[in-house]
Symmetry: C2
Subunit: 219 residues, 2 copies
DNA sequence: CATTGTGAACTCATTCACAGCG
DNA sequence: CGCTGTGAATGAGTTCACAATG
């Protein structure tokens, strides 16, 4: 069933986008969709869509296309988002609070079950989904008790490395890092970085160099 | 001076990271750095560093390395962050407020000069850098008067496309999109997407498929 | 017969390996 | 001598083009 050649990293992010788009299509009442239609709505090439899906199986019907709901279910299985995930966050400042309150996470099965900060003013306070902010010293025990599977870092850059190491010690080896620094971890730990300022640097670079040279696009 | 072969997209994001790392090195008192040292601290191959820089000029001294401060200045010139940029944001909810308050932006020369929302409760209120929240109807005129160069979208997905089009009409053709949807724009408009949930999908995918298979890494 | 699934061709990106040079 | 700069080699990812097929 699963034909495991090496799968490009970009394939995963595209598949995640296909999934989003399929939700819209389902909402709009579509039952079937062709690779061409799905592709253009995600701003990629139709062959890309078919190739991406081809890494994981044969989900389409030749001459017809893909069943919207069925393909969505398959993709969610591939991405392992056909279940809920427990997350813990460190840093309940402006950004941390915004993340805790972001409805997109629970909507997709990502639930915060623990929150930490090192500010004595904040410790003990209750934040959005009814979580008591704990001191960082309690990270290890709380994370284990609450069965946190994904650690979110929303601290200043200076704290990020230390927090990452605490997560690792507590056996959390998947980290979503919002701090503008790269953390160094062992090979068995997964890190995804969300660095706002790098994105801005890319924008300004393109504004200076690309715009009106060749006309280009989305990243 | 500028040898313009085609430059990989990834080169730009790496160069931005080199710049970050150089700031740390400067802070730590280093005057010179080798491609090897810079490379490992950014978790890339030394040849990659040299190749990336090579697209833009010759900044090193053979047998010695790169002058930290000088290289940083050159990179900032390349990225066009050797100047300030004006930004406008739409959507002053939890995320929008966190973005407005994020010290990383002004620290790097990105300043918010306009903020918009469609919530009558919020319109007229003053937010962080002393900005009055304006209604979206005033986007076009305000953006032009305040000389906004980069538009930030921090609205729900349902609003994003409409806001992007308003920005375009107001001649803002660089957009940082925090909404979890892809906006469709003309070729002359630049978009960078920051989609939290896609990053989470990538993490859960890797948790399911990669971890303990080959042990891998940072994205 | 329209559309998928996929090897082959192509394009793009990274790494190697070493000549060039301070 | 050591480290940069870079062409050449390798590797990865995308697109083409068409055979397979419900």
């Amino acid at each position: 069933m699963r034909k495991s050649r090496k799968i490009p990293k970009a394939t995963i992010t595209r598949i995640s986008r296909y999934c989003r788009q399929l939700e819209f299509l389902e909402f709009d009442g579509y039952r079937m969709v062709s690779s061409e239609k799905l592709a253009w709505s995600c701003q990629v090439n139709p062959a890309q869509v078919r190739k991406d899906l081809g890494y994981f199986g044969e989900f389409g019907v030749r001459g017809v296309g893909y069943d919207v709901r069925e393909l969505m279910r398959e993709i969610k299985k591939i991405l392992a988002v056909n279940r809920d995930w427990n997350m813990g966050i460190v840093g309940v400042g402006n950004l941390g609070s915004a993340i805790l309150n972001n409805q997109n996470f629970p909507d997709r099965g990502f639930f915060f079950v623990a929150a930490f900060d090192n500010d004595p003013q904040k410790i003990g306070r209750t934040v959005f989904p009814g979580l008591e902010i704990k001191p960082i010293e309690e990270l290890a025990t709380t994370v284990i008790n609450s069965e946190v599977e994904i650690g979110v870092i929303a601290t200043p850059a200076s704290q990020a490395q230390r927090i990452a190491e605490l997560f690792l010690e507590a056996n959390v080896n998947a980290i979503l890092n919002f701090s503008p620094t790269q953390i160094i971890v062992h090979d068995y730990c997964l890190v995804e970085n969300i660095d706002f300022t790098i994105k801005l640097d890319v924008l300004t670079y393109k504004l200076k160099h690309e715009l009106n040279h060749n006309g280009r696009v989305q990243g």
